[in-house]
């Protein structure tokens, strides 16, 4: 594998969607520092998993906060007691009672086993319910039919195929706001994790396997996505943008994209598969049908061939 093959594009500066762009500020240094400081402060409380834009991310954040609160209720008193007891019973303190043989107390034992057991029972309940409610493969409740998106991780970029629209994008995921999206994911090379922190659940994209994920973005805007599993030298450039737009606008976008730009057939896919990183977003106006399943089955021909030949038998050729 060519380690130096991938393209070093200029790393993109990922500003925060919906906020003031710090880099827009001109003028001398002080003003820029002041503006970045402001953005930084604002960004601090309005981003990542703390700023969910959809039901899955919101529910997960809620579980995290609830569980943290439950545990802090135990942990903070424990920490205070640690410091207080150690300090009060310091050797120099004449007022403290010395109990040189005190090593057992049934009542205390009951409490010290009881507190953690009760806490874990409570958290265990949250875990059981939360795991089932937020199981990634479980379709989201909605009156709208879900949009289907097929995700392929490549070295080192993301391919998003819209099977029903017959289009595909690279490093740019466009979704209709308020509509559930049903993802199928795989990898054409090594493992990656598909993660849009503000949308919630991340999941592995694994070669020769398919994982399922259901997410929804309710807010409009542009959000960051990335790979959350190290996949080689171009890994840090494996970032993408999520654009959440109104449903009708999405339909227009998909309509407009169809037939435009490049064609993702065997040849186009082979070209795309070459290692590259920090890849700028692109759109394919047409996609060979069944491309995703071909990738899963490792059937994609190693050399550029027309898309029609995709249904040839599986080749055991080395990856």
């Amino acid at each position: 594998m060519g380690l130096f093959l991938f393209v070093w594009g200029s790393p993109r500066h990922l500003g925060n969607g919906g906020l003031v762009n710090a880099r827009g500020g001109h003028g001398h240094l002080m003003r820029r520092v002041a503006v970045s400081g402001l953005v930084y402060t604002l960004a601090g409380c309005n981003r990542g998993i703390l700023d969910p834009i959809g039901p899955v991310a919101a529910a997960e954040k809620q579980i995290m906060i609830n569980s943290t609160a439950i545990m802090l209720a135990i942990i903070i008193p424990t920490m205070l007691a640690t410091v207080a007891i150690a300090w009060w019973f310091r050797r120099g303190n004449k007022k403290a009672t010395y109990l040189p043989d005190w090593e057992y107390s049934g009542a205390v034992e009951m409490v010290v086993w009881g507190i953690p057991i009760l806490t874990i029972m409570l958290l265990g309940g949250i875990t059981w319910i939360g795991s089932h409610d937020l199981e990634p493969s479980r379709p989201l409740k909605s009156d709208k039919p879900p949009l289907k998106v097929e995700v392929v991780s490549l070295d080192w970029k993301w391919l998003f195929i819209y099977p029903d629209q017959g289009i595909a994008t690279v490093n740019q995921l466009v979704v209709p706001a308020g509509t559930p999206v049903s993802y199928r994911l795989t990898s054409a090379t090594v493992w990656n994790v598909f993660w849009v922190p503000q949308m919630g659940t991340m999941i592995y994209a694994m070669p020769r396997m398919t994982t399922r994920l259901n997410l929804q973005a309710d807010r409009l805007g542009t959000f960051d996505g990335l790979s959350a599993h190290f996949s080689g030298d171009g890994f840090p450039g494996m970032q993408f943008k999520v654009q959440s737009m109104p449903a009708d606008q999405f339909a227009m976008w998909a309509q407009g994209a169809r037939g435009q730009g490049q064609v993702l057939d065997g040849r186009g896919y082979a070209e795309l598969s070459k290692p590259s990183s920090y890849v700028k977003p692109m759109i394919y106006g047409s996609v060979a049908p069944g491309l995703f399943d071909a990738v899963v089955a490792n059937r994609t021909p190693p050399n550029p061939v027309p898309a029609q030949q995709h249904n040839e038998p599986a080749t055991p050729a080395g990856a």
Binding site: S131, V190, V193, P236
Partner: protein
């Protein structure tokens, strides 16, 4: 002739590894020369390198761990520097192919060649003393274990000079670590080094399980063993069951890479998920291999410096064994995001949390050990309290990671990185530093400087929080791990704080060296003449500091949970020692060069396998086997220490003890 090994393997074009290699080579050469000029080689050879004495082997393990800590830390500070420079438009000073080696080496070295030898070193040094016996069950094998471990460490560090190290992360997940994606020697260095040191670790586990189950002083029943011995038993049981799984997983990956098998490849019916499961079936118990002995150290420290028995001893033992067993039932929580399904995720999530119960109990037991005590604020107590404050937060974030829906948004993120450093630094490293301070006088006969020790503690404590709290924040912001370049400029301040934290930890490591040198220089003022500098409670404080080769002239009779404390209190009350026993000649194992020679051939063989030099690999194997056969045909394995010598030493010890007893009686 030399397989893949050519002049290209030497990093002539990369200044950082080249200069580092030269500096290390010169330093090693200079130290070797200095030792030779001083005429210390025979001493080192006889007293350490070929020693079968568990105390000496323990010291060697800890020296290895401290040396590797410096290497692992150098990797850490380079990563922190890269991440605080390579933000936005800048690419920093490390290209990905170098940065990726560094974080892989950091993890591998810190776990396998710092934490493991440090923990095993303490078990070696302490367990036989606490059990009131003279050695471990298999002393020669013990020496072999150490040298195999050192051989692994040597190969990992050799990758700096020749070739490259793995660029796959410290667990080398396939298919990235398969030949198709990592054709270089890096992954082979990783695999071979871990296989060799893994053999050493399994032998250690066999040795210690046997020792603790079969060799104890008279009267030392299971429920009279000090808690450190219990945690050592649990830890070695886990090692015994978990390390073979690692060996198998790595062997399968080697078969893939060397012989074209398809265990984990993308083609030929391989499945990389299998590796993920196997590696974590080892990997999660590994956490408890490290942290259980750490808990043992805290238990010893808490009781000794509170001047009280450990609160809830039986509870503590039970909690330890619960963790020992449940630690096998949680591995899947490392990949909740693989899509295994709600039932599986929930079961493993809850199982993981259940470990929080005995761990919580332990925290409270240490708390109640201090309650009603007379807590002496020595360096080990600083680490204990620092640990209790840090670890509960690490536990909190750990339980969050065990809740699948929460893991879905923090898996593999900087939040995770912060979490496991919090439990490993706050839990394991603090314990190791506490144990280092606590048992140092037992090993060398003088204490370490207290003021410098506290300075080191504050460096670790403050440095750790500065270095890792920002990573929690960045994890919340959607930051993932192993990034050679950071796109988002707003992360900069947090990464700079993290770098500052790493620098402070670095100062702590430098101060540790200063503390050691200063304490050696002023050792005459800090001699431990009594053998019991901390007013200890367990049997290692009964003998002199440093203990004679055979530890105890006569194996102590154990009555009750705190063997030495009971005996000491009786002596103080009656103002006399127990009656002089009938001394016998003592049979002790002789030195053997087996370990170091086997490890030499293992290193040669491993090196040859890495570079495809097959004739040399075969030669290495034959050499290792030959020395094994030679050893097996030896008739003499023990030598006798004459009764006169035993009696003379024992009377000297009794005289010292009597003097000490008078001092105590007069002061009370």
């Amino acid at each position: 002739m030399f397989g893949r090994l050519t002049w290209d393997a030497i990093p002539f074009h990369e200044p950082i590894p080249l200069i580092t290699s030269l500096v290390v080579l010169i330093a090693v050469g200079a130290i070797g020369f200095w030792v030779w000029r001083k005429g210390w080689w025979p001493y080192l050879w006889n007293e350490y390198i070929t020693s079968t004495d568990h105390k000496r082997i323990g010291v060697m393990y800890i020296v290895l761990a401290l040396l590797m800590l410096v290497r692992g830390f150098a990797d850490a500070i380079m990563m922190r520097a890269q991440q605080s420079l390579a933000i936005g438009a800048s690419q920093g000073y490390l290209p990905p192919e170098h940065y990726n080696q560094i974080f892989s080496a950091h993890g591998t070295i810190m776990i396998f060649f710092v934490a493991m030898p440090f923990v095993i070193g303490f078990m070696n040094f302490v367990v036989p003393l606490q059990l009131g016996v003279r050695d471990v069950a298999f002393p020669t094998m013990n020496n072999v274990s150490f040298w195999l471990n050192a051989s692994g460490a040597l190969l990992v560090n050799l990758s700096l000079f020749l070739g490259e190290f793995a660029r796959t992360g410290w667990l080398a997940f396939p298919p990235l670590s398969e030949k198709a994606f990592s054709p270089g020697v890096g992954v082979d260095y990783y695999l071979v080094a871990l296989q060799i040191s893994g053999v050493g670790t399994v032998l250690t586990a066999v040795n210690f399980v046997t020792t603790i189950l079969k060799i104890r002083a008279p009267g030392m029943s299971y429920l009279r063993m000090p808690v450190f011995c219990w945690t050592a038993l649990a830890s070695n049981l886990i090692m015994l069951a978990a390390f073979p799984v690692l060996t198998v997983a790595l062997a399968q990956l080697m078969l893939d890479r060397y012989l074209g098998f398809h265990f984990f490849t993308n083609d030929g019916g391989g499945n990389s998920m299998l590796y993920m499961n196997l590696i974590w079936v080892w990997g999660h118990p590994e956490v408890y291999i490290l942290v259980l002995p750490a808990f043992g150290i805290y238990s010893e420290v808490a009781a000794t410096f509170s001047g009280k028995p450990l609160f809830g001893y039986r509870s503590m033992v039970f909690a330890t064994m619960v963790i020992c067993i449940v630690s096998y039932c949680v591995w899947l929580h490392h990949f909740f995001t693989m899509g295994a399904g709600a039932d599986i995720n929930a079961v493993f999530g809850i199982a993981s949390m259940i470990i929080g119960i005995p761990t919580g109990v332990k925290i409270y037991n240490w708390l109640f050990t201090m309650y009603g005590g007379r807590v002496r604020f020595t360096v080990p107590i600083y680490y204990l309290i620092g640990f209790m404050l840090t670890f509960v937060i690490g536990g909190l974030t750990g339980v969050l990671l065990a809740i699948p829906p929460v893991d879905f948004i923090v898996h593999n993120s900087l939040f995770l990185v912060a979490h496991f450093h919090q439990v490993i630094i706050g839990g394991v490293v603090f314990a190791l530093m506490a144990g280092y301070t606590y048992w140092f006088p037992k090993a060398f006969g003088f204490t370490l400087d207290e003021r410098l020790g506290k300075a080191v503690f504050w460096c670790w404590f403050i440095g750790f929080h500065l270095a890792f709290m920002p990573l929690y924040v960045l994890g919340f912001w959607g930051g993932t791990r192993r990034m050679q370049h950071i796109s988002d400029p707003s992360w900069a301040p947090w990464l700079h704080v993290a770098f500052l934290g790493a620098v402070i930890i670095g100062i702590g490591i430098v101060l540790t060296v200063v503390q050691l040198l200063y304490s050696i220089k002023t050792r005459d003022q800090r001699r431990d003449v009594t053998g019991d500098p901390w007013d200890g409670r367990t049997l290692e404080w009964l003998t002199l500091s440093p203990p004679p080769h055979y530890n105890f002239a006569v194996l102590p009779d154990v009555h009750g949970e705190e063997a030495y404390w009971t005996r000491k209190q009786t002596a103080i009350k009656e103002e006399r020692l127990i009656d002089e026993p009938n001394y016998q000649p003592i049979e002790m194992p002789i030195n053997t060069p087996t370990g170091v020679i086997v490890a030499f051939f293992a290193s040669v063989c491993g090196f040859a396998i890495i570079w495809y030099i097959w004739w040399l690999a075969i030669l290495g194997l034959i050499g290792a086997f030959a020395i094994f056969v030679w050893y097996a045909w030896q008739d003499e394995h023990e030598h006798i220490i004459p009764v006169d010598e035993v009696r003379k030493n024992a009377r000297e010890r009794r005289r010292i003890r009597m003097e000490h007893l008078h001092t105590i009686s007069q002061s009370t």
